[in-house]
């Protein structure tokens, strides 16, 4: 379909979540914005192939994901500099505790295999249905479900299983609860 004003507005409206997806995938704010830019250029160049009434965000996410995949293969061996770059994307620094927890979570997320990470982000953060996520990743719905489950289990193992204390600062409360259970 031609690029109408409303379609252009819809594309613009999808930019914030495209950036969030790109940053979650690449862990690097600069590369993420390059990915978004490339995605927008491709989308606008191929706007005729977009089916009116179909899911625009899913279409854009598919383009971005495919670009990331080819980009990732190219850059796989380059040394990552994710840590410093990610911090730059934050407008406001969270409190130190929250920041540590956040860094820890992000670090664990990066340890996931790429397939699992993208599935978890699409379903758990972007809010796509399993069906949409499957279409974006070009795989079966069941595959997405199992990737999401494995991603969650692995994150849980990395972040929470070994330290019950990690659940929160209030060990005392936990001890009291645990003690009264008998």
């Amino acid at each position: 379909m031609p690029l109408t004003d409303s379609l252009r507005d819809d594309i613009l409206a999808a930019v914030p979540s495209l950036r969030a997806f790109a940053i979650s995938l690449s862990g690097n704010a600069d590369r993420a914005d390059d990915l978004v830019q490339e995605t927008l250029l491709r989308a606008l160049a191929n706007i005729d192939s977009f089916q009116p009434g179909s899911n625009l965000p899913a279409w854009l996410f598919t383009i971005l994901r495919n670009l990331f995949r080819s980009d990732y293969r190219k850059r796989r061996r380059e040394v990552e500099d994710a840590e410093g770059n990610y911090a730059k994307t934050l407008k406001t620094q969270p409190s130190q505790n929250a920041h540590l927890e956040f860094e820890e979570f992000r670090g664990a997320l990066e340890k996931l295999p790429q397939d699992q990470r993208e599935a978890l982000i699409l379903v758990g953060a972007s809010g796509f249905s399993y069906e949409d996520a499957a279409a974006i990743c070009g795989c079966a719905v069941g595959t997405i479900k199992s990737r999401v489950n494995r991603a969650r289990s692995k994150l849980a193992a990395l972040l929470y299983v070994d330290g019950a204390e990690d659940f929160g600062p209030d060990e005392t409360i936990r001890a009291v609860i645990g003690g009264s259970g008998g």
Binding site: L12, L41, R152, L155, G178
Partner: protein, 77 residues
């Protein structure tokens, strides 16, 4: 106080790979917090500019629609 500590470490830990609803919701919460942090930054100018520019093929400036005459003449091609 020593007792509290030893009791805490003995308290029930989730089984390996066992996703309690508590852990699952915690993961979901952190994932969305991380993601929404970026979403809240909105649309950076470079992307708004990009789309605006590409909207006019050949770089021709778009005629501004500032509520001019509603009497459009389509005769010219």
């Amino acid at each position: 106080m020593k007792d509290l500590k030893s009791q805490a470490s003995k308290s029930t830990t989730p089984g390996k790979g066992g996703l309690t609803p508590e852990i699952q919701s915690r993961i979901g919460h952190q994932l969305r917090a991380m993601y929404d942090d970026v979403v809240r930054q909105g649309v950076p100018d470079r992307f708004a500019e990009l789309i605006k520019k590409l909207d006019a093929p050949g770089g021709a400036p778009q005629v501004e629609t500032d509520g001019g005459s509603s009497d459009n003449n389509n005769g010219r091609d």
